[in-house]
Amino acid sequence: MYEDKVMDYFNNPRNVGDIENADGTGRIGDAGCGDIIKIDIKVADRHIVDVKFKAFGCCAAIATSSMATEMAKGKTIKEGLAISNEAVAKALGGLPPQKMHCSNLAADALHEAIKDYQKKQAQ
């Protein structure tokens, strides 16, 4: 059902946790549909210097969150916004078709976190 890489990122998730005093937080999904992803970012000099996630959801939700955080770390804000859900799935070697829409929302959560940061900067 899942590629080995998905199971690796599910079983050994990278960047799990919360960032205290995060510069931006993104949250997507709801418990009713079975997936919630939360991503915290720390930004310095327009770069995402730290990123952590928490996820309630299936293997795909956890693996994509884990992969998205890894892809975002060290990137500029602009580069972070350019990471797509499809790119995250591709980096994991692909997801089963039924997971592409419902459990592949990690990049959206990352974008929400970046927008939250930008909103705070604008204030």
């Binding site: 418990a31 009713g32 079975g34 992803i37 996820a55 959801g57 293997c59 795909a60 956890i62 039924q98």
Partner: protein, 385 residues
């Protein structure tokens, strides 16, 4: 890695004794049971003996049993065959919201054919209220179909009480007993049922064979048309090896029914007790007083079922979940929603169904591994504080 299989409601392993009984009919004894020469007669005799064994398991007479390709065919035959046969008497069917899809989707098909179906709700334990059955009956009602025991939460329905009401009104009564037969005593005469569906692979028999019990005198239309097999009522060359396997499996479960049920109840209680002791924020689903032996369905809050199932699988433990992801659908199990679980709790459900080869050591191993997995997943969960 030793695998611990705790999904006996999905299917069971083939009992070695059953395989042994089947082997001659998969090898040398290949005759068609309809042929009149020696090897055909041998096959015919084997089918007759198997029919007697399966009949004995449910207290029926052997000429009331018709072999099918499985539980799904039996359910389809019972409902479509009865609905068509009784069409001039009425067009109303009563069933419940927690039936297996073999019944639910057949009822939906019958609705497309012009029948009206009432889907009765259940209470928080998954119990159907016999009074609700009585209230739902109209002068158009021709069939009442209720499952004996629910495949997901294990609740055993008050089939005898419902039977009394249904029989009093002279309505045809079908029971989907796929999960009950071989696990708890089933007696068609005590219930007063007219049609009863069963499947071999739930009781250590082979896949691809089941049976429909049709009470003597009850007439339903055929589902399959063709040859004269099964006394002109179910066409198709007999699956002799499968039928023999079903017979042997029925005989074995008949012999050990009560002891196995008692042992599995104790093991299931040990598992549930261990879960309660080792984890917080868990709730058990199903009727505590009257449930299939060795059936544990538990919702573990703040985690999702597929993640639990896959994590347990990596540790060699096979279980199932009512979460949407585990079922490959958009919504969690219709049964868990029907007993009133909120979506997020239903997503975190695990079904563990023990079987005759399950041991205390298996249960204790699960009780060591499961809490660790839950702890790890909860540490990742934004819902868990």
């Amino acid at each position: 890695m030793k695998r611990i299989y705790l999904d006996h409601n999905a299917t069971t392993s083939l009992d070695p004794e059953v395989l042994k009984a089947m082997m001659p009919y998969l090898t040398g004894e290949f005759g068609n049971a309809s042929s009149i020469y020696e090897c055909g007669r041998m096959a015919q005799k084997a089918v007759v003996e198997a029919r007697e064994k399966v009949a004995r398991l449910i207290g029926a007479q052997s000429d009331e049993l018709f072999f099918t390709s499985g539980g799904t065919e039996a359910d389809n035959w019972a409902l479509k065959g009865a609905a068509e046969a009784l069409r001039d008497k009425g067009n109303h069917i009563i069933t419940t919201v927690i039936e297996h899809h073999a019944v639910l989707h057949t009822c939906e098909y019958l609705e497309e054919q012009g029948f009206e179906v009432t889907y009765l709700p259940v209470d928080e334990y998954g119990l159907v209220d016999p009074a609700a059955v009585e209230q739902a009956i109209t002068d158009q009602t021709i069939i009442v179909s209720v499952m004996y025991a629910n495949n997901e939460i294990g609740t055993i329905e008050p089939v005898e009480e419902i039977g009394k009401i249904v029989k009093e009104k002279g309505i045809l009564y079908h029971i989907d007993a796929v999960q009950a037969v071989g696990k708890i005593p089933v007696d068609v005469n005590a219930i007063g049922v007219d049609l009863l569906s069963m499947s071999a692979h739930k009781l250590y028999g082979p896949k691809g064979v089941g049976a429909l019990y049709i009470r003597k005198g009850v007439k339903i239309n055929n589902l399959l048309h063709g040859g004269a097999q099964e006394r002109n009522q179910r066409a198709g060359t007999e699956n002799v090896a499968g039928i023999v396997g079903f017979g042997k499996a029925a005989e074995l479960s008949c012999d050990n029914l009560i002891e196995t049920a008692e042992r599995l109840t104790r093991l299931g209680d040990r598992l549930a007790k261990g879960i309660t002791e080792k984890m917080d924020h868990v709730r058990f689903n199903g009727y505590p007083l009257h449930r299939l032996p060795g059936h544990v369905n538990v919702s573990i809050e703040f985690v999702e079922g597929e993640a639990l199932v896959m994590s347990l699988d990596m540790q060699g433990i096979s279980v199932s979940s009512g979460s949407a992801c585990a079922a490959g659908s958009a919504d969690p199990s219709h049964v868990l929603l029907a007993i009133g679980l909120p979506h997020e709790i239903a997503h975190g459900s695990l079904r563990m169904t023990l079987g005759k080869d399950s041991t205390e050591a298996d249960v204790d191993e699960v009780l060591t591994i499961l809490p660790r997995i839950v702890e790890k997943l909860r540490a990742m969960s934004p819902l868990y504080q």
